[in-house]
Symmetry: C2
Subunit: 142 residues, 2 copies
Amino acid sequence: MSNKNKANITELLRASKLSITDTRVKILELFMNSNGALEHSSFEKLAGQTFDRVTVYRTLQTFLDKGIIHSIPTTDTSIRYALCKSECTEHNHHDHHVHFKCEECGNTICLDDTDVPEIHLPKGYAMHNIDVVVSGVCKQCK
Amino acid sequence: MSNKNKANITELLRASKLSITDTRVKILELFMNSNGALEHSSFEKLAGQTFDRVTVYRTLQTFLDKGIIHSIPTTDTSIRYALCKSECTEHNHHDHHVHFKCEECGNTICLDDTDVPEIHLPKGYAMHNIDVVVSGVCKQCK
DNA sequence: CATTGTTTGCAACTTAGTTGCATAATATGA
DNA sequence: TCATATTATGCAACTAAGTTGCAAACAATG
Ligand SMILES: [Mn+2]
Ligand SMILES: [Mn+2]
Ligand SMILES: [Zn+2]
Ligand SMILES: [Zn+2]
């Protein structure tokens, strides 16, 4: 982990008015060093260090609340989490990108450059958020 | 439950080469009488009758395998299930519709007439399935 | 209606997620 | 830098979710 990233993390936490703790820094490092979305179990067995399950749950919830990470829906029992872009704030998320889950390697990634197309709901429905999850085979697994 | 629906259910099970059992019929009745997607807990505490949790899990899995129902992804721990349209078969699902989850009433419904728009993935990705889940406020809750 | 294969329910288990509370760590400002 | 107030963490104990093996019950078939 570079010093640059360490500084980023500190800044990110400060900007969200969160105190800078070991767990939070380590979990953010993990996010930054991974190129896919992470599921809950990834955090407990992290690099020698063990984090209490409860702390991980609470940390992820805090990050969600603050708009630091977003969650990606699944039909199995493993919700995934990924870092939000810097434009996301506590009350205004901008995660309008598509998520891709590879059926081969199981990896889930954010396709940041693939826009979510417009959806026209029937009359009477108010839209707050759209989640698009595409499954298939990824670049690497082809 | 009308006789017509009972006949439909029997036919549906037979078409999928599944034997006609109490649990399967009751769970399909529940689907047909509900206008939203159902989560797992809905099935256990059904109308006086109690179903074993294990049986419910196995029945839903069987229905998924046979293309009788489809699952709707969530970011909480309550995957929802809904009946497939008749065109769905074991190896060829046609669930290209949008799902809507109301943040007020919690209800999840299939917007059967709202098509999933085309998505253009980056080069190298093969698409098998698209899930679109919109959250917001539904007709009734407005 | 007897036989065969499938489905169910139970027990026992694993994994996931929650809550309360005492202790430890962080932020702040004197 | 240090004392204090505030917040985060870890532990214990719990509830909920999901899985597996196996014996008994049931449905399909001729
Ligand atoms: Mn994402
Ligand atoms: Mn649907
Ligand atoms: Zn892959
Ligand atoms: Zn509603």
